[in-house]
Symmetry: C2
Subunit: 289 residues, 2 copies
């Protein structure tokens, strides 16, 4: 089964659980709407790719970890789009959750997706309970306070923040968790594998900053120019487009070079190369290909 | 150490973790504000009391479970008070979190508390990893969709809902998790112990409905008359004050009678009797004492 098929099936199983007997119909509908159809699913792809590179010794655990990470990412998108944050009407090319279902159900959908992520871990990781300890703690620390994506979003409420600290928490943390959790699901050392996620997370953020400046809203599937409008730090604004592009290329190279020796090292290197090409905005993709 | 001391210490350890190096200062401050000073801490008291009645064979796991349950309860209060739900200015006798810190940090505080709850489980339950599987799944299912407190809150967005379904999800689920998790933390069967939580949860909800009608805002520490103002089902409105009081007494008796045979059965019965007296509104406490 392809990585994508494993991810979509695991996410569907998780959402079907949340839609189960007794679920409030509008919440159930909003949960499915928040997760399907997805974006590039970059984080769960990365998680599963690392799990396979490390031998895929517990596929059910790897699927659960990948689904949990994507559910947490979807939760963060739903809450970030709320009127009290970005007030974004558009997400993945359709109306954002609070526009479609109202703010109360958008808040509750985000909450339910966070909980569902951890419940998915508990349901999927039964074969090796000691791996659950590692996976739960790895994934939770990438999402909460002090250094996870929720803390990253909270930096927007502070009067001063460094670009590095902000992006490391808001974007980098979940990429680090994706590679670390993929390794942990297969019984490998999560700490060694975090470096790959950190470099890819920074690369993804630089690419996102470039897209915010270079793309049109239709290509992006969400509003453009949001960083400038919201006075958020943006690498392309700080380094210039040429400087940001050079930084992106250097980070991708560093990521590929960081892959530890493992059974599937060559396959993983090839996959990361292919995946990171999708990071680049169309206008720059030619040069990076 | 008393139950209260164990709970406050475990909650303080959890919050200190979230306040750790790199935390955004306002979020860190809002997290502590959301959890301290607490209310009656009924759910974690119940969780620890059951863990002790079952032999308290892994006190660290019991403390983690109790803290996780209270953190999730606090998260639900912070989000329920938001302008898009109850728009409540007052909670536990002080300004609610969104009034003190603004809606963005209130949303993020709730999110971070949910994540912290699960992270606390991972950090506390290392001695018996197989108990983590049970505890994580027991607690997560009491919070998410289809039947947890988030689903309970989402029923308020539906046009029709039964009083029983609504209250079972919104209040009952976390009480069931409290007794089931207390048992699981000590290696006992969580399913058998859920009955006690279900009865106490329903009793607590009936008492809360009575307080919403009988108390003044100063005694309650939050606005009164909210159920009528928000067209929410209220047992005292449906059954009358006398009927609701009779229902409350019958539920408390049923709860005490449901306690399974265990090493600390008599102590637990005495503790539940004392705790449930605190449920009753002052105007009715004399009759129940």
């Amino acid at each position: 089964m392809s990585l994508s098929a494993r991810i979509e099936q695991s996410l569907d199983e998780a959402i079907r659980h949340a839609e189960g007997p007794g679920a409030p119909p509008l919440l159930a509908s909003a949960l499915r709407y928040s997760v399907f159809p997805g974006g590039h699913r970059i984080r769960p792809q990365l998680c599963l790719a690392v799990a396979m590179a490390c031998g895929d010794t517990d596929p059910q655990a790897a699927n659960a970890a990948a689904a949990a990470i994507e559910l947490l990412h979807c939760a963060s998108l739903v809450h970030d789009d709320l009127p009290c944050f970005d007030n974004a009407d558009l997400r993945r090319g359709k109306a954002s959750v609070h526009v479609e279902y109202g703010a109360p159900l958008a808040v509750l959908s985000g909450d339910a997706l966070i909980v569902l992520a951890f419940e998915t871990l508990a349901r999927g990781i039964t074969q090796n309970p000691s791996r659950l300890v590692t996976l739960l703690s790895t994934i939770a620390s990438a999402v909460g306070s002090p250094n996870g994506i929720v803390a990253g979003q909270a930096w927007e409420s502070e009067s001063a923040v460094s670009l590095t600290d902000y992006q490391r928490a808001k974007t980098g943390a979940l990429f680090v968790a994706a590679t670390a959790a993929g390794a942990a699901a297969s019984g490998a050392d999560p700490a060694i594998w975090g470096v790959l996620g950190a470099k890819l997370g920074e690369a993804y953020q630089v690419a996102d900053d470039l897209r915010d400046i270079l793309c049109d809203a239709e290509e992006l599937g969400k509003p453009i120019g949001q960083d400038a409008a919201r006075h958020r730090p943006n690498a392309a604004a700080q380094l210039g487009i040429g400087g940001a592009k050079a930084r992106l290329e250097s980070l991708v190279k560093g990521a590929i070079d960081s892959i530890p020796v493992c059974p599937g090292q060559a396959e993983l290197q090839a996959l990361i190369k292919a995946q990171t090409r999708a990071f680049f905005p169309k206008q720059l993709a030619q040069a990076a290909a």
